[in-house]
């Protein structure tokens, strides 16, 4: 299978065993400066020849792509290119759809998530997800929404108030909702609702956060707020963000992958991909010749 990977600074060896702890310290100091060979962190997740189907139609045609630890990886591409399907394969949400099928391999810290013994329910607590449309639970208050993941998982929450506050602070929503925690989330604006959904995902303390076009239903101000938040979360979480907004990818992502027709066309450091793409299709897309 032709991986179609752009020649990026050193060819990354796929992790054979566990995680390599090399870069987590370096990652923080790297701030937003692009990684070089020395600061390039370990692969938190790795997709290898990942294929996905909806019934008979193949949505992903063999994707091989690393997701680096404590970095933001953006997936861009025109509608229907498989970018949402790809992130949904990373926490096994793809298989929730009737008729959906996956083949290939996805590693989380070197461990195969599609192995027979893996419980998708456990996996999803390590790999959290935020959806395109804010979807707070309408039968729950703001606080209960934040704690929903733990409660739905059947856990007793030792310090619900403290946990809710921490998660809401991390999602930069605390100051706006601290006086209305018992009220519903529906009174919040779209952007606040989306941050509530982010808080809900963070309350489970995931290692990876998948964001499927988290800003596409939001206005520019709310979008800016979420992008700021992604910058902050990058310090602690590995983030994969799907977006069809190239400016957004350029603003928030350390690495960017360009998908087209279910294939990975190019993957590189964001600054390289947007300024010196090595594939013709990438260049055509980012210069607006199609898409």
């Amino acid at each position: 299978m032709d991986t179609d990977l752009a020649p990026s600074p050193p060819t990354t060896p796929l992790p054979g065993g566990g995680p390599r702890p090399t870069a987590s310290a370096a990652g923080r100091s790297a701030a937003l400066a692009p990684d070089d060979a020395a600061t390039r962190p370990a692969e938190k997740m790795t997709a290898r020849d990942l294929r996905a189907w909806f019934g008979a139609s193949e949505a992903l045609r063999g994707i091989t792509l690393p997701v680096l630890e404590r970095r933001v990886t953006a997936i861009i591409g025109p509608s229907g290119c498989g970018k949402s399907t790809f992130v949904r394969c990373l926490n096994r949400m793809h298989e929730v759809v009737p008729g959906a099928r996956v083949s290939g391999s996805v590693l989380l810290d070197g461990q195969e998530i599609y192995a027979p013994g893996v419980n998708p329910v456990r996996l999803r607590r390590r790999v959290g997800m935020v959806f395109q449309k804010p979807n707070p639970f309408p039968t729950m208050s703001i606080r209960d929404n934040v704690l929903a993941g733990l409660r739905l998982g059947g856990e007793r929450v030792a310090d619900p108030a403290g946990l809710a506050e921490r998660a809401l602070r991390q999602a930069a929503l605390w100051d706006e909702v601290k006086d209305v925690l018992d009220r519903s989330g529906s009174g919040l604006s779209g952007g606040q609702q989306q941050r509530l959904c982010i808080a809900r995902a963070l309350a489970l303390e995931p290692e990876v956060l998948l964001m499927d076009e988290p800003c596409s239903a939001l206005d520019p101000t709310a979008t800016a707020r979420i992008e700021e938040l992604i910058h902050e979360l990058r310090e602690r979480y590995t983030i994969v963000i799907v977006t069809h907004n190239m400016q957004q990818a350029a603003r928030v992502a350390d690495y960017t992958a360009f998908f087209h027709l279910g294939e990975l066309v190019e993957y590189d450091r964001t600054d390289v991909l947007f300024t010196r793409p090595s594939r013709r299709r990438t260049e055509d897309y980012i210069t607006g010749r199609f898409g």
Partner: protein, 295 residues
């Protein structure tokens, strides 16, 4: 000021359409008002007949050989207990069946057959349910002429409606909320219990209460399983014999004395009032529960 040509033409077309449109609206209105008037007439004439007999003692007396001292207490209590018991049986079974069909069953010939049957069963004459109840509950399972046998029979009668209302309610829960729950690491059962059921509860309860309001007037199945027509005691357990409002009314109507006919009319008013009360509770409950769902 002159309108552009296209707009004047547009207006002309609308005026041409308005005659049949108005006629259709009028026909619709007649179709609405006619049955309402008929209903009002029936209710009114019953009310006029019943008026002299409608007092507190009518509600609190046992039946009697003398029409003027006969009351409907056992029937009223019987019907209330019967409805409560029916709901207790029909809700879990109906909701369970709906959950299975909506959430777990894979589409197959068998499930298609079951779905078809549920639709058909809703239209089966109620006396057939009575015969089934007589054989299965009263005889084979040895419940006799008890409240329990009556409630089981009526629950059977309601099940198709309860199942359909519950499935409808389950379908209104947006898939995005289920996905959110799955993505938080909840399994199917916890998603159903924590997210889906709280959201569809108002719909399920409304369906149940509305079908109960229909069942409250059912006479045939209760007569078939042998509910008594003359009861001088109140039911003290689910195993005791009982009577119900429609049976008491049926009994009074079939008596020759005019005094009992007045009693029957009064019984009808009580039955209708009870039914309206149930409907009112359904509306109130739905409004109340829906306020807890924040959109």
């Amino acid at each position: 000021m002159s309108l552009p040509i296209s707009r004047t033409r547009d207006l002309a077309i609308r005026r041409a359409e308005s005659a049949p449109q108005r006629a259709f609206a009028a026909i619709g209105l007649v179709a609405l008002v006619l049955p309402l008037l008929l209903l009002l007439f029936l209710f009114g004439s019953s009310l006029v007949d019943a008026w002299p007999r409608l007092d507190w003692s009518f509600l609190t007396s046992f039946p009697s050989r003398k029409p003027e001292s006969a009351g409907i207490l056992p029937a009223l209590v019987g019907t209330t207990c019967l409805m409560g018991l029916t709901a207790v049986i029909a809700i879990p079974v109906g909701l369970g069946a709906a959950l299975y069909l909506e959430e777990y069953a894979r589409p197959s010939r068998l499930t298609a057959l079951i779905e078809l049957n549920i639709g058909t069963l809703a239209g089966v004459p109620s006396i057939l349910y009575g015969l089934l109840g007589l054989e299965v509950f009263a005889r084979v399972l040895g419940m006799g002429r008890s409240l329990l046998a009556g409630a089981c029979t009526l629950a059977l009668l309601l099940l198709p409606m309860v199942i359909m209302a519950s499935r409808e309610a389950l379908r209104t829960v947006p898939p995005s909320l289920r996905e959110a729950s799955y993505a938080l690491g909840a399994d199917k059962w916890r998603t159903l219990r924590g997210v889906v059921l709280p959201m569809c509860l108002p719909g399920v309860l409304t369906g149940v209460i509305l079908s109960l309001a229909r069942a409250i007037g059912e006479t045939a199945p209760l007569i078939t399983i042998g509910a008594l027509t003359y009861v001088a005691f109140l039911p003290d357990s689910v195993h005791s014999e009982f009577t119900a409002l429609p049976i008491q009314i049926f009994n009074w109507v079939s008596r020759p004395q005019a005094g009992f006919h007045v009693n029957a009319a009064a019984g009808i008013i009580v039955l209708v009032a009870l039914m309206l009360l149930l409907n009112g509770v359904a509306i109130w409950l739905r409004a109340r529960l829906q306020r807890r769902i924040y959109w």
